[in-house]
């Protein structure tokens, strides 16, 4: 399966890594590289879009087309890129604050829109880069500088919301298990449509509650308990599990829906990127005559 010229070091970058020692993001970086090798995708074939946050620095740390954008907006930017050039493998990687906090609206609409984008969320249940405020996924009672008495909002449940918002591929993985993660990412990339992979990612500095150990004691694999990913109701029930037992794996997947761009009829005439390139070399003004006629 692995094309001979692809190996992890093809994706190596010499940029200085600024993550804290022990940060769960290292494993996500590794998991993503493993997945790209496994899927046979070269650095130039992918576009990796991120937002702002510790996790969103990831594209800086690998050799791939990377676009580190603004806080909360990578899904929208990735959607534009995918529609303009569906030939690219478009991935998004960003933090929980980026994805579900400020980026929440794009998240719910991307779910129902279903563009062929693989979305990896580095979910450390905290705002890392801004030094430790609570995030939408922080548990009730989680104490931070902006929640000194403990968070008093119910935690945002990305799996449940994605399911309710019509996502067609919904999975969870864990930084403690890069191989599982790579498997989830490959599955997400193979999925035709939007794929959410929420990764439980320990922040060793600002989250002293949801640590590697804490997770390891609780995590189980959905596949080990015979969960059927085609069963939406079962997926929704599993999505409610948290606390004593935390499932990882594919909660739900359906190929019954088209990816958004498959239904964009204009794309059959060539992609917007191709049109611009063609035009550059070979303007074809005659095709506009019919448009002009509308006004005559």
């Amino acid at each position: 399966m692995q094309p001979s010229d692809l190996s992890l070091n093809v994706f190596e970058s010499d940029a200085e890594n600024t993550w804290c020692p022990g940060c769960g993001d290292f494993a996500i970086l590794r998991g993503l590289k493993l997945a790209l090798v496994e899927a046979g995708i070269h650095p130039h074939e992918a576009l990796l879009v991120s937002g702002i946050g510790c996790g969103s620095k990831l594209p800086d740390y690998m050799h791939v087309n990377g676009f580190m954008t603004i806080h909360g907006r990578p899904l929208a930017i990735a959607t534009g890129a995918k529609l303009a050039n569906p030939n690219l493998h478009v991935l998004v990687v960003n933090g929980d604050g980026d994805s579900y906090g400020i980026g929440g609206n794009h998240f719910v609409h991307t779910c129902r829109r279903n563009p062929d984008i693989t979305h990896i969320v580095e979910n450390n249940q905290v705002y890392g880069l801004t030094k430790g405020q609570y995030s939408p996924t922080s548990e009730k009672g989680f104490i931070t500088t902006t929640s000194p008495d403990g968070a008093i909002e119910a935690a945002f449940n990305p799996i449940a919301v994605a399911l309710a918002a019509h996502a067609t591929f919904v999975a969870r993985s864990f930084s403690g298990d890069p191989k599982h993660m790579a498997r989830m990412i490959v599955a997400g990339m193979n999925h035709r449509g939007y794929a959410l992979i929420d990764v439980l990612q320990p922040c060793v500095i600002y989250n002293k509650l949801n640590t590697y150990d804490w997770y390891k004691q609780r995590i189980y694999r959905l596949e080990d308990e015979g969960h059927d990913p085609s069963d939406h109701t079962a997926a929704a029930a599993r999505a409610q599990e948290w606390g004593d037992r935390i499932p990882i794996g594919v909660f739900f997947q359906t190929e019954a829906e088209h990816a958004y761009e498959q239904d964009v009829r204009a794309l059959a005439a060539g992609t917007p990127v191709e049109s611009a390139t063609r035009l550059h070399r070979d303007p074809r003004p005659e095709q506009y005559e019919a448009l002009r006629q509308r006004f005559l």
């Binding site: 970058s13 940029a15 070269h42 650095p43 130039h44 074939e45 576009l47 879009v49 702002i52 620095k57 594209p59 800086d60 050799h63 791939v64 087309n65 990377g66 676009f67 580190m68 954008t69 603004i70 907006r73 929208a76 930017i77 959607t79 534009g80 890129a81 995918k82 529609l83 303009a84 050039n85 030939n87 690219l88 609206n105 794009h106 609409h109 964009v264 009829r265 204009a266 794309l267 059959a268 005439a269 060539g270 992609t271 917007p272 990127v273 049109s275 611009a276 390139t277 035009l279 550059h280 303007p283 003004p285 005659e286 095709q287 506009y288 005559e289 448009l291 002009r292 006004f295 005559l296």
Partner: protein, 582 residues
């Protein structure tokens, strides 16, 4: 072609929202355009979907018309309310055409010698089609009164109703026939006549937004994401109506932030991509505008201005966003701001915006406004073959930049080589953080200074090629009007009115390229008595020019009630010499 008894005729079609006035008006404009006349049709409507008085005003002339005059010749009123509301605007000796079924208070008309003509339009519509076709009947009646050929109206009905089916066409045509016939007896009471040449020169009848959209397509734009907002919505609506064969991808996004971000994503990959909105939506785009500035993504953003602040006067015109557009975004980065003045400009800006964006690798903001966006004007058929495409320093897919591609090279003119994701030889990163030449995050002071200077140099490069203010009228004149955007039209006509007696009383400097300013701007402004004419409260262009050139205007004429200027009011204010201070 000729207009009898005057260089032009202005007709106001008025009634309730939902009575189909705007489409009747547009139909009349198209018919007149096909007949080789110069026409300008301007809508005026409220922020509601049904009910409430709206109007659509059509000016028809022998030569190009640039604005709506202060007074109208003919009022076509579908409701009693329309007569009451607009009687004052009808000139002495003018005409009011209204269905016999409408009760008119004659005392409004008689003192000013206005002729009232009342064919049974509602009845005729009911009889030959249905009541909803009263507007068709009115249009045919109007044609009868001003001597406009019924056939031209019938042709337009055929074109416009064809998607509603053959029966709709036939019924409307029958209504038109009947109304025309019933009104002919009154034709003698109307002094102004439009006569049409046998072989008219064809003209396009097109709204500013449509012209812009067409220009964008001519310029290779094949991606547009937007969130609806008056008066920008018709751009994405029109582009969405283009058949799939054109490859025009449009996306109605969940909000304006998504809209601009999608366009940025598309432009990043190499498409010519844009978004359009009005001021309120533009506010939401400002953070992403900075992203495009920092990562040098050539995205085009249309801000179709309307009355602000906030929701303001959502269906009315204003030029209130200039200083905001020039300064929007935290920190400092190059952007280009251009503004069409006419419908012709709209088409040109449509493609030019993309050339500028790709050449200077920065966001381009096109400031249009409600008046331009919605007014339908006759223009010479646009020439697609003449549209130049300039993709700037985009590297070709078969070039080989090799290892360590420097997307943000410290180029002398600030313009670095640009690759598109997918190129096996030019894998690269971009970051909204300050970055080095390869696009990787970098906080060092030296790199920062050099990268900031590199980016800002693009502004000088762009300024050198910017279009300077354009002069209309005599080279020297007592007063120089200063205008941008749709205010150009009434200013131009005001100059003609002021100079009508042959004395060079006034001329006009108008700008399309508002930021960066052409280096010659200062020289062009110096030693003139300048009066800025702007559709805003604080004379924003005059302020911008003082900030950048140090030159002050003498005063300004402003309007911020959402209604367009008329040439007459500008002329009068210039004559009176009472100006607002800037």
């Amino acid at each position: 072609m000729d207009i009898v008894n005057g260089p032009d005729i202005t007709i106001r079609l008025s009634g309730d929202a939902g009575q189909g006035l705007e489409s009747s008006g547009a139909g009349f404009v198209l018919a007149a355009a096909r007949a080789g006349l110069h026409v300008l049709g301007t809508p005026d409507y409220r922020s509601r979907v049904r009910g409430g008085n709206n109007f659509f005003q059509v000016r028809v002339g022998n030569s190009p018309v640039y604005s709506q005059p202060h007074e109208i010749n003919v009022l076509l009123a579908l409701t009693a309310d329309a007569v009451t509301t607009h009687a004052d605007s009808v000139m002495e000796g003018g005409v009011v055409l209204t269905p016999a079924e409408v009760n008119v208070d004659d005392s409004l008309l008689r003192p000013r010698n206005i002729t009232l003509i009342q064919p049974p339009l509602v009845e005729l519509a009911k009889q030959h089609g249905d009541k909803m076709m009263t507007n068709t009947a009115a249009l045919a009646a109007l044609a009868a009164l001003v001597g406009f050929p019924l056939q031209a109206i019938q042709d337009v009905i055929a074109k416009n109703f064809s998607r509603k089916g053959a029966e709709a066409v036939l019924k409307n045509q029958a209504v038109a026939n009947a109304a025309h016939e019933a009104t002919m007896k009154d034709a003698g009471r109307v002094p102004w006549k439009v006569s049409v040449p046998a072989h008219p020169q064809p003209r396009m009848a097109i709204a500013g937004n449509q012209a812009f959209a067409l220009g964008a397509m001519a310029g290779g734009c094949r991606f547009m994401s937007a969130y609806p907002m008056t008066p920008a919505t018709t751009i994405v609506e029109w582009l969405s109506s283009v058949p799939p064969e054109y490859g025009m991808v449009t996306k109605h996004a969940e909000d304006e932030i998504a809209a601009i971000c999608m366009a940025i994503g598309a432009a990043y990959t190499g498409a010519r991509a844009m978004t359009a909105t009005s001021g309120g939506g533009f506010c939401l785009m400002v953070e992403a505008l900075g992203l495009a500035g920092m990562t040098e993504v050539p995205v085009v953003i249309v801000d179709a201005q309307r009355g602000g602040p906030s929701t303001g006067l959502p269906t009315r015109t204003e030029q209130g966003d200039l200083l905001f557009a020039v300064h929007a975004g935290h920190g400092e980065f190059p952007r280009i701001v251009i503004a069409p003045r006419t419908t012709e400009d709209c088409f040109e800006m449509g493609w030019r915006a993309f050339n500028l964006a790709e050449r200077y690798q920065c966001p381009v903001i096109v400031l249009t406004d409600m008046l331009l966006a919605g007014s339908i004007k006759t223009i010479d058929p646009v020439d697609f073959a003449a549209v130049p495409i300039d993709r700037g320093r985009a590297i070709e897919l078969d070039e080989h930049p090799g290892d360590g591609f420097k997307r943000f090279e410290f180029a002398d003119d600030g313009i670095s080589p640009r690759a598109f994701p997918g190129d096996p030889e030019a894998v690269f990163a971009s970051s909204s953080d300050e970055h080095d030449e390869t696009g990787h995050i970098n906080e060092d002071a030296d790199n920062r200074v050099r990268m900031m200077q590199k980016r800002m140099r693009k502004l000088e490069t762009a300024a050198a090629a910017a279009r300077p203010p354009e002069l209309y009228g005599p080279a020297d004149a007592e007063t120089t009007l200063l205008a941008w955007g749709s205010t150009y039209g009434p200013c131009r006509e005001a100059v003609d009115l002021l100079n009508a007696d042959g004395r060079p009383a006034a001329n006009l400097l108008s700008l399309t390229d508002l930021w960066p300013l052409a280096p010659s701007t200062e020289d062009l402004l110096r030693d003139r008595r300048i009066i800025a004419v702007e559709g805003n409260y604080s004379s924003q262009l005059a302020q911008l020019l003082r900030m950048k050139t140090g030159v002050s205007v003498e005063g300004s004429i402003t309007r911020y009630d959402g209604r367009p200027f008329s040439p007459e009011e500008i002329m009068e204010q210039v004559k009176e010499g009472q100006f607002a201070a800037v």
